[in-house]
Amino acid sequence: MTDYKKYEDDAVYGDLVRLLDKKKVTKSLYERINNSLDPYMAGNELKKGEIPYAVVRPENTEEVSTVMKYANEKSIPAYVRGSGTSLHGAARFKEKGIVINVRNLNHLEIEEEYGWAEFGPGHRVLYVKEALEKRGFFLPLVPGSIRIASIGGIISNNTSAHGVDTELGKPRDYVLGLEVVLPTGEIVKTGTKSLRRIAGTDLTQYFVGGDGLMGIITSIRMQLMPMFESTYGVAYFKDLDSLARAVQRIYLDKVPPPMFLEMLDERVAKIAFKIKGLQEPKGPMIMFQVKGRDKEDAKKKVTQLVECIKKESPIEAKEIQDMEEWHKIWSARESSLPYICQGGKGVFAFCEVVSTVPGLVECMKDVKNMSKGKPTLEKLGEPYLFGHIGCLTYHPCFIIPADWSEEDKRKAYEEVFAKEAELNLKYDTAGGEWGQFAMRGPFFSEKWGESGYDFVEKIKTAVDPKNILNPNVMRKTVLENK
């Protein structure tokens, strides 16, 4: 761990105010607190005094560069934040430093003739999605936190959440170029203005999915994706095994993959369906959205999917044509996590266990049994289970009672991540949503070896010699009790 020189809060604030406009810098206690928090870390509360020197809100790339040059010169850690919705602490303030809040990096140009849009990282995903939809385009960024998550983090994590990778791809498949400020303050423009992708070294790829370690993304150029037609379907099963087998079959029978394919176990489905005023589900269930060039294409694909699923003898598998019914079912899925939280009167701890196609049935069993052998999780019993099963991801979820001590909550989180690592190592997989460092340092070393970990560390050192940009995201412990 790097030892950073300590400064007085006011000294750093004073310097930043001299470098930027005063209204772009704040030393407000509560703004500093709120820029140090992210979800999930209920077991890792802020301690008094452990807040950043200041929060800056730059409005352009040059201002970000100015701040980074200053931070580098003074060896002050800098943490980059948009909405602060990272689920594993990737954007979390840890060492005394400066928080760079990118919310005001919010330009947006849609260049239909070129076939791309360019926007700032501070936009909420939903805002850009709606702006593109008005022009007939789809934004292929689909996090569960679409309303609040900001785009910079999505690109830095290359996260795809609901999106089935073999159908929709990953964000990196759509990013044509970036503007990036390096930890030392230099500005790099990557990519081209063409839709033709670069062969060989493409600088863009160092930063998309770079876990925010290599630079600060200040502008994103992304290919426009024309809007399409969709069809929808649902299937209910007698048990989780046949549900998992049906998803396996979609891959093995070479039917067109859906764009989204989500699952709820029976316990979760019952809670969510009841709240949404839907009929009680007949068993564990999947729901899927299929995209097609036109209605006919989408219809054909969903029919093929339903027929394929029927081979695994579901209780029922059908296309949904009533959009109201689909919206209710989809929102039941979207709200399933809060609904089980509200029922359980607690906070959630969940993770991503990713399977291979052949491992899908066994992995489901492993996930259901994941509390076994973990003393804190055993107190909580079997996890609730939902997930993006279409892209082979299970989200086992535990509800930790709100009145548990911070220490017990922390233990539960540690055990969840330890078990996640164990299972992803077993199936030779890795999470597709939350980035590979932060809580996953131990996993990274195990999965890709010490040499793999050292490789990333060497690149990080070359780009960020003083280790000031998002330091401690690369760390070898699951949680740091600060």
């Binding site: 607190i33 909405s83 809040n101």
Partner: protein, 404 residues
Amino acid sequence: MEYSIDASEKNEEQYLEDLKNEVLEVLSTCINCRFCLPACPLFEVTTGEVFHGGSGITRSLYYSLKWNEKGKDELKELREILYSCMMCKACETTCKNSSTGTRLLTAIQKGREILIEKMVGPMPEQKKVLESLEKYGNPYDMNKSDREMWMKLLGAPQKEKESTEVLLFIGCTAPHDDYAGKMAKSLVKLLNKAKISYGIFEDEICCGHPALTIGDSFIFNDIAEKNIEKFKKLDVKTIVTLSPHCFDTYKNKYPIDALKGIEVMHYTQFINKLIKEKRITFSDRLDKIVTYHDPCYLGRHNGEYTAPREILSSIPGVNFVEFNRNKENALCCGGGGGRMFVDIETETERLGKVRAREAGEIGAEVIATACPWCIIMLTDGIKTEGLTEKVEAKDICELILSAM
């Protein structure tokens, strides 16, 4: 957000400690997911601070209490954050629909009480409101005789013990403000025209809502006792309020037992019933494109989205269009939560203006609403946005009257 009437009986220190523990317990379920931030009206009229929004406000409060912050500047800053909230409930609704269902408004409300106990709150302008409530029984520094005179001239019958079971509760804003006054006058005229039996208190005092939202439970308690006594004395069986704020206060904030047997209605619910019973009928048309702005205390706080819309649809000639953000997702006008009485420095835009623009975008000629504060904020928004030629704000009772 139930009010505990025995608060005054506890000793001060214990009272403060209990409040603190209550806030920390309520907030223990918040996971900082931030889903509530974009739902907060402040989020779109400020320059990017994240101490706004239900979670921003309550995390500020949470850490201030946990860390026992005593610094003058820090407490003053916390005061500004807590009192910036309009209590529109958009955060809490989002939290219930999409996250852990944390009772964010309860925490904010209790946080304000704590600041008042610590002699830090409320905002300076709001202190005058509390003084006025104590002195005159209304938040506007309006002396009792002026108010009574205004009420006498309203043309409504005085509620006597035997005269009627229905009390029309006018509230404090109508006698104080011309726009809200027009609204009350329209309601009285239309009830008179339809020969509905009702009465008012000419010496009416506030329901206590401003004291409660500002965080002074003692003043609220005092007001509540006076009102309860009067309701009982004059045998009130139904309270019909002009304002959704009074409606919410009587319906949800008064001790349940004290108002047992008294039905509390907002005037849109009362009128809608009368229209359905054909006791109010229309003889004229209103050929206008009309949208409806949901007052937060009628909509999100009490789930009443239907009655106002049914009334508007029953007026001949009304071409009804919805705001893009409507019902549960409606944008607040900016007047709730004690914000009628105070401006917050960090705001760069007024919500009334945003709402006026939104009405323009959907082609509405009239923004109908059903709240004295909304009508003031919306009228002001339309004016400052320069849209007076295109759109006007009208209360539903004015629209009904013009078509009767």
